[in-house]
Every structure is written in structure tokens, then in C-alpha cells.
């Protein structure tokens, strides 16, 4: 009996301790981003100063799965207070009520100062990044074009690392198959166009290693597992500058996009979330972020404060924009779910 009482007491204690941990977590703001070098740059530029200003932050990571945010909102158990999302997620989430509508007056920010600020009502633009390919200069000859690098397996035998997502991959496949960049979304909007894109991807299906988190692309390249890898330009920049990897970015048909701060609907910490977004949108802090990663700040006021040394590495540098391809976020916001489903079925076949 005494033993039972002890056990019961221990269980009670453990329960109380857990409850205390939960209660403590309640006044912390949970910010979710894409992990790796990108989140590191946000940590340095925004999270640490925000904590120093007397706030509490819990960080979380994800790979851009909108379903995780949807599940929270639908279950009315929102544990992520601020999420870094890409444009298609911002648009899709806005249309279906997954994100709060942003009150710019409450933020105290001038919406006109933000590049792309009017694209969606549910998020605040934070950086401009780009999806690019890269290779190891010590192992691979410079390819003539992006499409040669990704699709010419005779000239470049070996594996390619691509993101496990149809986004950008389908567009690249169509362009490699001869579709003019201006017609890509017209073609991709039809069933035959989607078939055509997958048919092109079929030609390299057995040569692809699919990555899910942004750090994997540069890692696979560094390990010599692949001859070409795609990733977001900042991840390669980080591998080149910080880890001294002999990588070179192929800017040919780079696919630029925004990242945004969005607030999942129903978070109990909406006030703190707003305070954080205002804090992180400060021009100086945004300019500071470029010290750690080569993404362009979305706040136009930040541009003059950027260290000029990084300018050539930004997606917006004139040299990098020669053959740029701008993905259509509205297309992906509308059709993303269908194409992802088809893509997953295609992968499993």
C-alpha cells in the first residue's frame, strides 16, 4: 500500500512538472521556419535581438508543408504563432482562411515600402530568394545551360538532387522540353501539359535523389552523391562562404520567390506575433540578415543599408537575372494541391 502511495505521488509530481513546462511554454512565441542556414540567419538577425529585448521565443522547423498548418488551424490547436511561408502557401492559406489577415496599421509599417506587399492580404514579405542549381567545380565541367545540367544524362552521367516537390521542377521540365517561358503556365494549366512535364521528368527519374529539407541539396553535393543539386540560393551561398565548398551556382533560369511571415488563424499570441513581425521588418535588421545569407530583404528601406559586397550574390543582381524565370504563385496557390498529389503518385509508381 505504501509502495502504491509512493508511486501515485511520483506520478502526480511528474504530471505537475509536465503541466508547469506547458504553462511556461504558454508565454513563449513559437516561430517556425525552414531550418538550416536560413533559420540560422534569422536567429542572428531577428530571434536573438528579440530575445534580448525581453521576449521569449521557441523555434520550430518545417519543410513548407501547408497541411501541417491547416491541420493545426482546423483542429483549433494552433501551436505555431508565426510561420515563414513561401508565396504559394501564403496565397493558398489566405484563400482558405488558414492565416490571419494582416492589419498593416497595427504593424505600424508602410505596406508600399515592401516589394510584393500587395500580393496577398495574409502575410508580410520578408525576403526574396531563388531556387537554383549548383555543381562542384572540382568535379564537374561548367554546363552550357541549366537544362543541360539537369536533363542531359549522357553528357553528365550521375545523379541529380531535386526538391521532392512539383514546384519549379515541372516548369523547368517543360522549358527543357521546348516550351517558351512565357507559355509555361498556359501549358501546365492543361492535363496534356502536366503529362508532358511528367514525361520529361520520366527521362531522369532514375537519376534523381529527392531532397526535402533545404540543407540536403548542398549536403548531397558536398558528399559527391550527385553531380548537380538544386536548392535555394542562400543555402549554396552559405556552403561556399561558410564551409568553403568549391560550388558554383547556375543562375540560368533561376526561379525567384518571396518568403513571408504569416500568422496561423486562431493563435492565442497574436499580439506578440504582430510585435515580432514589426521587429523583424526593421530595415537595419533586414539588412543585417544579409551578413549570414544571400537573400534580398523585402523592405525597400533596407536596400541602402546592405553591405555592397553581397550584392553580386543576391538573386536580384543584374548578372544573375539574364534568363530569370518568375514562377506564378497564384497558379501554385490554386493548383498546388492537385499537382502535389499527382507528383506523389508519380514518385511512387
Amino acid at each position: 500500500m505504501k509502495k502504491f502511495a509512493t508511486l501515485f505521488g511520483a506520478a502526480l509530481l511528474a504530471g505537475t512538472a509536465l503541466y508547469a513546462v506547458k504553462a511556461q511554454a504558454a508565454d513563449e512565441l513559437t516561430i517556425t521556419s525552414w531550418g538550416g542556414a536560413y533559420q540560422e540567419s534569422q536567429r542572428n538577425a531577428f530571434f536573438k535581438p528579440f530575445i534580448d529585448a525581453g521576449n521569449k521565443i521557441t523555434e520550430a522547423e518545417y519543410n513548407g508543408e501547408i497541411a501541417k498548418i491547416r491541420a493545426m488551424v482546423e483542429a483549433k490547436a494552433v501551436t505555431w504563432d508565426v510561420v515563414d511561408v513561401d508565396t504559394q502557401t501564403a496565397l493558398a492559406g489566405c484563400a482558405e482562411g488558414t492565416f490571419e489577415t494582416i492589419d498593416w496599421a497595427k504593424l505600424g509599417l508602410d505596406r508600399a515600402k515592401f516589394i510584393g506587399g500587395d500580393v496577398t492580404d495574409c502575410a508580410v514579405p520578408n525576403i526574396l530568394y531563388s531556387t537554383v542549381a549548383a555543381y562542384d567545380t572540382t568535379k564537374t565541367e561548367a554546363p552550357a545551360s541549366l537544362f543541360e545540367a539537369l536533363f542531359d544524362t549522357t553528357k553528365y552521367p550521375g545523379k541529380r538532387a531535386l526538391q521532392k516537390s512539383p514546384f519549379v521542377n515541372l516548369e523547368w521540365a517543360l522549358m527543357a522540353d521546348g516550351v517558351a517561358p512565357a507559355d509555361v503556365y498556359k501549358v501546365l494549366g492543361t492535363d496534356e501539359g502536366v503529362d508532358r512535364a511528367f514525361k520529361k521528368l520520366d527521362t531522369i527519374k532514375k537519376d534523381v535523389v529527392w531532397w526535402e529539407s533545404g540543407a540536403q541539396g548542398p549536403q548531397l553535393l558536398a558528399d559527391g552523391q550527385v553531380v548537380f543539386a538544386t536548392s535555394w540560393n542562400g543555402r549554396f551561398y552559405n556552403a561556399i562562404k561558410t564551409d568553403n565548398k568549391p560550388f558554383k551556382i547556375i543562375w540560368d533560369f533561376q526561379a525567384p520567390d518571396w518568403d513571408w511571415w504569416a500568422i496561423p488563424k486562431g493563435t492565442p499570441k497574436i499580439e506578440e506575433a504582430y510585435r515580432f513581425i514589426t521587429f523583424a521588418s526593421d530595415p537595419q535588421r533586414m539588412a543585417d540578415q544579409t551578413k549570414w545569407i544571400s537573400y534580398g530583404p523585402a523592405n525597400k528601406d533596407a536596400a541602402p543599408k546592405i553591405d555592397p559586397a553581397i550584392l553580386p550574390d543576391l538573386p536580384s543582381a543584374p548578372d544573375n537575372l539574364k534568363t530569370v524565370f518568375y514562377p506564378d504563385p497564384q497558379f501554385w496557390g490554386d493548383k498546388g494541391d492537385e499537382l502535389r498529389e499527382r507528383f506523389n503518385a508519380w514518385l511512387a509508381q
Partner: protein
């Protein structure tokens, strides 16, 4: 004559307090039973809560589907009277516009689109676009206006699908996990080829599990025999080699295989060094360096390694109980070693083999992390798709239906196994 009578006059045996003995005995027994029940109650409650209830919820979720009924109440109501032979009348379109306007206000339009898109590929974006545009339609007639927004609303099949999915219950998820679907007229037809993958996945899951079970048996049986028949000292050292990996976390072992199997890794180097790569290139089996990582081969090898102790240990413990005298007797009667083994020893180990194989097979069916880490996209098993349905598609109906299919397949196999081997003959030691 004895004064005390063995049987009282009325023929009823009584206890000391006068109650009939039968009643007293029953009462005492009932008390004992309750006590015993009290002891199993915690486990029973645990199993109900953690096992039976989730399975019931899963079964329920795989057929329960209120999205359309809840978010398009007026349309569903108006469609009741529709016979399905030609385009629905104006009232249906009016109700549809009212529902979409309401849905757009509550930002539920995408939910309707998501649900309908499961059945009509590509309609999700059309629903959201239409919901955006119907806000401008202040008054009728709505029919032409709606069809002008998107011609999908002028298709009878679209409305037949909406009417069909307006019930709270749907066979849709279960059917689609068998690569089947209901046509517009309600008949069951095959999924288009670019969407039918689930039958392959089920077959693949069963195939990999079967192969791994066979491999563990082939590798494990001789080792178990050696362990059971070696002297105690040798056996305990050998046992450590079996148990040490068994005690290591599954994730650690899988990661180890990732490192060993990766391109240019230890395995590839060994193959290159030993000349096997050269030989295989000569024979035309492969071209260039062998690819091991992210292949079916790597998946089966890693799973076999992880499952080996589960097959081996039950066989071993059954072998331990077999007296060596049987083999001696068989030999003394003139049996060759092989014949004696086959006719005398092996049949006695079968209960252990049955137990080990069933354990491994059923565990294999649920494998998720190992194929995800060392296998390629075409080596993923059913659990991997359940994970994706929940985590990245937010489709609980699909996840539940996959779960139901896996559960059903497992139960059928268990039934067949029971008929062939007999569960009561199975021995874990």
C-alpha cells in the same frame, strides 16, 4: 445413529450461518472473480483506450465525410429532387451560389474544393475561383452566369458527384485505396492509370515483408541451431552478438545502413576492391558503380538485419527445449544426419519457426522509417503513405482508409496462417 445429519431434511446443504451452501460458494467465487478482474482491469482499460478506440475511430473516419453536406447545405437540399438526367434546374444553381457566397465569407470554399477534387481531378481551383466570382452575382438567373464562370458547372457529372458526396457516409476513400472509384452513375470503375498506385503499394508492402521474413528465417535458423547446441560458454558469447544489435535503437541501425550503403560508401568500395564491380560490369549486370543506396536491395538488407533477432529468438528458445536424445535415437535407428534432422529435429522446431516468422512478418507490414531512409520512392511501404496523408496532405479519410486496408490484409493473412499452421501450435519458448 449419528446425531448430526449429513443432509438436512429439506435436502439443502447449508453453511454455518444458515445460507444454502451453493449460494455461499457462488458468492465467494464471485468475490474472487471480481478481485481477479480488478487486476486485469488496468490493462483492459489501457487496451480499450489505446487500441480498440483508435481502431474504431479509424474505421469511422475512413467512411465518414461530412465536408460537402456541412458546407453546401442548400445545394444538397436542392439536389435531392434532381433526377440526374439533365442539368439541374435554376433553384439548384441559386442554392449553389448562396452556398458558395457563404463559404467564401467563411473561407470554407477551399475545403469544398479540396473534397470535390478527390473525385474530380482539377476542380479545386475551379471551386475557389468560382467562389471568388459569385460574390458579384447579386441576382438571377444564376444558371447561365455560373456556367459562364467555368464550364465545369455545365457538366452533369459534376452535379452527380456533388449529389453523391453529399451524404455523410462515403465508400470513396476505401474504394480509392483499392484504385477504384464510383463513376458519375454510381457504378464502380478503375482509377485512371496516373492515379492508381495503391494496389501496387499494398502488393509491394506484402512482398517486401514476405521477402524479409524468408531472409531472416534462412539466416536465423542455422544460427539459432548453433546457439542451441553449442556449449554454454560459446553460446553465451554468440548470444551477445545477436542481442547487442537487438538492444540498439532501430533508428541508429537504419542510419548505420545509410552510411554503409551510400554511393562511394564502405559497401561500394568493398565491391570495387574485391573486383565484384568489375565482374558485374563485364557481365553487363550493371553499368558503372553499383547503386545500393535508395534501392529495394538496401531496404530489404536493412530490414532483414533489424528483424533477424525477432525471428531467431523464438526458434532458439524452442530448440533449447528439444532433448538431444531424439537425434541420438534417430541416428541409432539408422537415420543419416540429414534425414534425422529433417524428420525428427526440424518438425519439433516448427512451432518456434511459426512464431518467429509471424512476428517478423507482422512487424514488417508496419515498417515506415527504414524504407523512408534507405529506400527510394518506389520502395516506400503503406505506412509511409499513411504518414504522408496525415502530415503533408491533411487527408485523414485517406490515411484511415489505408489503415483499414492494411488491417484487413493483416487479418486475412493471420486467418490463412492460422488455418495452415495453427496459432495454438505456435510457441515462443
Amino acid at each position: 445413529m449419528a446425531t448430526a445429519q449429513a443432509v438436512p431434511a429439506d435436502g439443502v446443504m447449508r453453511a454455518a450461518d444458515g445460507t444454502p451452501l451453493k449460494t455461499a460458494l457462488a458468492r465467494a467465487e464471485r468475490r474472487e472473480r471480481l478481485k481477479a478482474l480488478g487486476l486485469v482491469l488496468p490493462l483492459f482499460a489501457f487496451i480499450v483506450l489505446s487500441f480498440v478506440v483508435p481502431i474504431l475511430v479509424m474505421l469511422y473516419n475512413s467512411v465518414y465525410d461530412p465536408d460537402v453536406a456541412e458546407n453546401m447545405p442548400q445545394t444538397v437540399q436542392a439536389l435531392q429532387a434532381w433526377d440526374g438526367r439533365e442539368l439541374p434546374p435554376e433553384e439548384v444553381f441559386a442554392a449553389f451560389v448562396a452556398d458558395l457566397q457563404e463559404a467564401q465569407k467563411n473561407k470554407q470554399a477551399a475545403l469544398i474544393g479540396k473534397r470535390l477534387n478527390y473525385e474530380i481531378s482539377g476542380i479545386r481551383s475551379k471551386v475557389t475561383t468560382t467562389a471568388r466570382k459569385v460574390g458579384a452575382l447579386a441576382e438571377g438567373p444564376y444558371r447561365e452566369a455560373v456556367i459562364a464562370i467555368d464550364k465545369v458547372w455545365g457538366d452533369i457529372d459534376t452535379w452527380a458527384t456533388i449529389k453523391r458526396s453529399s451524404s455523410d457516409w462515403t465508400p470513396f476513400y476505401i474504394l480509392s485505396m483499392l484504385d477504384l472509384r464510383q463513376g458519375p452513375d454510381g457504378s464502380i470503375e478503375h482509377m485512371p492509370a496516373d492515379r492508381s498506385i495503391y494496389k501496387d503499394i499494398l502488393v509491394r508492402t506484402l512482398g517486401i515483408s514476405l521477402l524479409v521474413t524468408a531472409m531472416t528465417l534462412v539466416l536465423g535458423y542455422p544460427v539459432a541451431y548453433m546457439l542451441a547446441t553449442s556449449p554454454q560458454k560459446t553460446a553465451s558469447i554468440l548470444m551477445i552478438f545477436v542481442l547487442l544489435p537487438f538492444w540498439t535503437s532501430l533508428l541508429v541501425r537504419t542510419t548505420a545502413w545509410m552510411i554503409l550503403m551510400q554511393d562511394g560508401g564502405v559497401f561500394t568500395q568493398m565491391l570495387n576492391f574485391s573486383g565484384i564491380t568489375f565482374l558485374m560490369n563485364m557481365l553487363g549486370v550493371i553499368d558503372g558503380e553499383p547503386q545500393l543506396f535508395k534501392t529495394r536491395f538496401a531496404t530489404v538488407v536493412a530490414m532483414t538485419h533489424i528483424q533477424l533477432p525477432f525471428t531467431l529468438l523464438p526458434i532458439y528458445s524452442v530448440m533449447k527445449t528439444i532433448s538431444p536424445n531424439y537425434m541420438r535415437a534417430a541416428k541409432s535407428l539408422g537415420g543419416t544426419p540429414f534425414y534425422s534432422f529433417l524428420r525428427v529435429y526440424m518438425p519439433q522446431t516448427l512451432p518456434g519457426v511459426a512464431a518467429g516468422c509471424l512476428l517478423t512478418f507482422i512487424l514488417c507490414l508496419g515498417y515506415y522509417i527504414t524504407p523512408a531512409l534507405v529506400g527510394g520512392p518506389t520502395d516506400q511501404m503503406i505506412s509511409g503513405f499513411i504518414e504522408r496523408a496525415i502530415n503533408s496532405e491533411n487527408n485523414w479519410g485517406k490515411a484511415s482508409a489505408l489503415g483499414v486496408i492494411l488491417l484487413t490484409a493483416t487479418l486475412i493473412l493471420y486467418y490463412v496462417y492460422n488455418k495452415l499452421v495453427g496459432i495454438d501450435r505456435m510457441k515462443l519458448g
